[in-house]
């Protein structure tokens, strides 16, 4: 195996948690609010359905092929050439997404805190740090996720300080136009939820794989709860105006002022958020690097970490001249592209793998019962 490190299922859960929520947390209230208006607190619940499906597909596939990642078992399930093609599509998806996530991170930093800094500096420094983590292997990414998970929870503790600015009236009228607006608002978050499929790259290194399903499902539940919580807070603070802000969470935290002493808490949120983004980009980067070396059958994945970093940096600029174009992808393509590659395709793979397994069992049973009969039967089937 390419990777010698081992992680626990709890570490994997925390990695996935940060991988999904790190970028979702800033943008989702605004994206959901655009369609769901004052029902945006309901959207993460719908969106989490995609997450549960994705986790189920990833874990069920891992049970059939315990030591393999999606790039490897796709060739076992649908044959060498289609499997390799599918692997290439998945790898293209992940390297592209890594670039776009790095771009989203940089746009956020430039827009909020470092307006004078060239965007390339922000992207390249982040990719360099992530390259260091990826080179260190899955164990170190798992441990950083475990550590940063608790820091990431810190902004939730600060939220009650906003109670003064909250107006419960903004919640009403609930479901004024039926369920459809909240379902529409769930389309973009469910793209983020589908990123839970990244666990298929990490499951082969999990020591207590029996707990994988439990930890994966709990992770999705946790993400859904946290997003609901944040959407609710944002709704109560801004009302339907939430959609007008690019990063409503940051704006909300700027409101906090305790005794004129604790102020500018948005910088705390940004610090914590950078930690989450670091884990997120590392995980995507790691999946890309590991997948590429598995796809090409390399002996070691470490030497290609830096070259792939250059490609990621290139992809983060490619055909994205400004912030408008960057968020255009998030709104137009990602809600469909993400789940297509990470939920629908794995579910299809799972269905085919189960059919294959069933067929194999049947033919084996027939072989043991009546070898000659079964032989003619399989010949007929093949014919």
């Amino acid at each position: 195996m390419l990777e010698q490190g081992k992680i626990s299922s709890a570490q994997m859960g925390k990695m996935i948690f940060l991988a999904v929520i790190a970028s979702a947390v800033t943008a989702v209230p605004s994206y959901s609010g655009k369609y769901a208006q004052n029902d945006l607190w309901l959207s993460p619940a719908w969106a989490s359905l995609t997450g549960f499906l994705t986790v189920y597909a990833a874990i069920a596939l891992n049970k059939l092929y315990p030591q393999k990642s999606v790039v490897e078992y796709s060739t076992d399930i649908i044959g060498t050439i289609p499997g390799k093609l599918f692997g290439l599509l998945i790898l293209f998806f992940y390297i592209h997404m890594t670039g776009l996530i790095a771009r989203g991170y940089a746009e956020f930093i430039i827009g909020n805190f470092l307006p004078q800094t060239p965007i390339s500096i922000v992207i390249i420094t982040m990719i360099a740090v992530c390259a260091y983590a990826v080179k260190a292997g899955v164990e170190s990414i798992g441990r950083t996720a475990q550590l940063f998970f608790f820091f990431f929870m810190f902004p939730l503790i600060l939220m009650p300080f906003l109670l003064r600015d909250m107006k419960p009236d903004f919640l009403f009228p609930m479901l004024e136009h039926g369920l459809l607006p909240s379902l529409k608002g769930a389309l973009i978050p469910q793209g983020y939820f589908s990123e839970a499929f990244l666990m298929s790259f990490f499951l082969p290194f999990v020591t207590d794989r029996g707990k994988g399903m439990r930890s994966g499902m709990l992770t999705i539940l946790g993400i859904a709860l946290m997003l609901t919580c944040i959407n609710l807070f944002i709704l109560l603070v801004f009302g339907t105006q939430a959609a007008d802000y690019l990063y409503p969470v940051m704006v909300a935290f700027r409101y906090i002022s305790i005794a004129d002493f604790f102020e500018n808490l948005d910088s705390v949120v940004m610090t914590v958020w950078i930690l989450g983004m670091f884990v997120k980009i590392s995980i995507f980067y790691y999946a890309t690097v590991l997948g590429t070396s598995q796809w090409l059958g390399l002996a070691d994945y470490r030497p290609i970490v830096l070259p792939i970093g250059i490609l990621i940096a290139a992809l983060s600029f490619w055909s994205i001249p400004n912030l408008n174009q960057a968020s255009r992808f998030d709104v137009i393509s990602f809600p469909f592209y993400g789940p297509l590659m990470q939920t629908i395709c794995p579910l299809l793979l799972l269905g085919l793998a189960l059919l294959r397994k069933k067929g194999k069992q049947q033919s084996q049973a027939q072989m043991t019962m009546a070898p000659e009969q079964a032989h003619t039967h399989t010949e007929k089937q093949e014919g």
């Binding site: 369609y35 592209h96 529409k184 590429t292 390399l298 470490r302 830096l306 490609l311 992808f329």
Partner: protein, 72 residues
Amino acid sequence: MKWGLVAGMSALVCILFAIEWPRLSRLPRRDKMTFIALVFIGWVLSMFDLPNLPGPTTMINEIFEPLGHYLE
């Protein structure tokens, strides 16, 4: 073409080779070829005016645009 960028990227490529070659020299030929190919692609891409060039993001946006408009 910005010659500063070309020189910078070439220097970066040289540094990459200096860092990775000791480990790579012990690995099979396939690993070396992959490394060289990836570095070369990255080096060539950095020569272009990438932000204003149609690329993967444009392609994906074109494919999913009808669905995206349905949402709006």
